[in-house]
Subunit: 254 residues, 2 copies
């Protein structure tokens, strides 16, 4: 399996290293920034390129892992390659790849990637989609190199997944940040909250979130909620967030 990576950010880095570890050959890494291409190429023993004319046309698969708004432009350079072309975006339709390679599709890993933290991809759901059943089979085989969890998901469904991930990951992380801010203001250590945060995420691995909801809002304990709002008197923004999410909880369980 010969793979060319288009892009050298977080997703490209995690996927390229994982493919390499599973025995695939990363033959080239393209990036518009030649320094970034060199870093990922060095990690995966690939050739770094930043000119389209240097692109090897004969790879089995071209993985497009660039910013969403750059996918279309990149695709225009992948019309004649003799492999399949996949993008890795949650929010972008398969249609943007139209005409690319000998078949095209999506390989979307539903996970949050940071450069500094390794992620075990074996458990990460890979959402795949293709222009054709034959391409789908190829993309499924590629996805199974990395993960036990591969699901066919349409572009419309993928958009919903991406949105749901914003609620479950991005917003959640921001709530961690807001709670840390509160603690800092009162000279308390964020470490105190870490076991609670982990347990909250572990709980829903085997139970539905609505079955394990706790706190003043779900038991409609208005006295405690009033005390909390009073404590937040200096932070109108946090009061608004507190009220909106508490009301949403109350509405869910009333």
């Amino acid at each position: 399996m010969n793979i060319v990576f288009i892009g050298s950010g977080n997703v490209a880095t995690h996927l390229a290293i994982a493919f390499k570890a599973m025995g695939a050959d990363i033959i080239q890494v393209w990036s518009k920034d030649s320094r970034n291409a060199e870093i990922l190429a060095a990690l995966t023993k690939a050739e770094p390129i930043n000119q389209w004319k240097a692109l090897d046309q004969t790879a089995d698969c071209y993985v497009v892992a660039v910013k969403d708004d750059a996918i279309a432009e990149v695709t225009s350079h992948l019309q004649n390659v003799r492999g399949i072309v996949v993008h890795t975006s949650g929010a972008t339709s398969i249609a943007v790849l139209k005409g690319a390679g000998i078949g095209y599709g999506v390989l979307y890993p539903l996970q949050t990637f940071s450069k500094t933290k390794a992620v075990d991809l074996k458990k990460v759901p890979f959402c795949i989609e293709a222009d054709h059943p034959e391409t789908l089979e190829k993309i499924a085989a590629i996805a199974h190199l990395l993960s036990e969890s591969v699901a066919e998901v349409s572009s419309d469904q993928r958009k919903v997944l991406h949105l749901a991930a914003v609620f479950a990951c991005n917003f959640t992380n921001h709530l961690y940040h807001l709670s840390n801010q509160l603690l800092q203001q009162h000279k308390l250590n964020f470490d105190l909250l870490k076991p609670l945060i982990l347990e909250t995420a572990q709980k829903i691995q085997s139970a539905l979130p609505e079955a394990v909801q706790t706190g003043p809002a779900v038991r409609n304990d208005q006295e405690t909620m009033n005390k909390h709002l009073a404590l937040l008197a200096g932070s109108p923004e946090l009061q608004d967030i507190y009220e909106m999410l508490s009301n949403s909880i109350k509405k869910t369980y009333q």
Copy 2:
């Protein structure tokens, strides 16, 4: 160490079983509901009681784990006991226990407990407070039976911790629920999000939340945010939550 439990809910159950496992004797479990007292008493080989006149006055420690608004009433029956009295509430001042036992204080485990899921208490922070340095030493020794993580926290600080926990745990779990609802509406399986949820919580065990924030709001990707809001057209409540949290993220990182 002889302990009497006042209350038989989630917190009482987890703590009583853990104390028993560490070699303490649970001599009585009081509950206003005799059936609940019997269940926890059976689990811990204790005597179930639901009459105050049956209370053993000679235990080393009385753990009050009842609803916040019932602590004061319960405390009125613990004025003359010959042990120390602690409550386990995050939101309740130590002052509610005034005059109880031969010393009184707080033993607040900062964790979310469900009846159906075991929790390893060794890593759970126990926030303690006492009326007197001697009582504090006793409560610290009791807390260390269960956990490696024991911190002295004042009533005012504990209120802030409890509030921060609402953001980091209760609201977070509700966001899990909202994302699950979105998936269900589009016939997608919540399992797809579970690795992402776990990774998000694991990430902040060793990094600050603000250092690992991802998503459209932090990179001010208005196009994606507009697409998300359009997808939520049928759910004005989710649109409001989406906008409020996205604005809060934008404000944090601008």
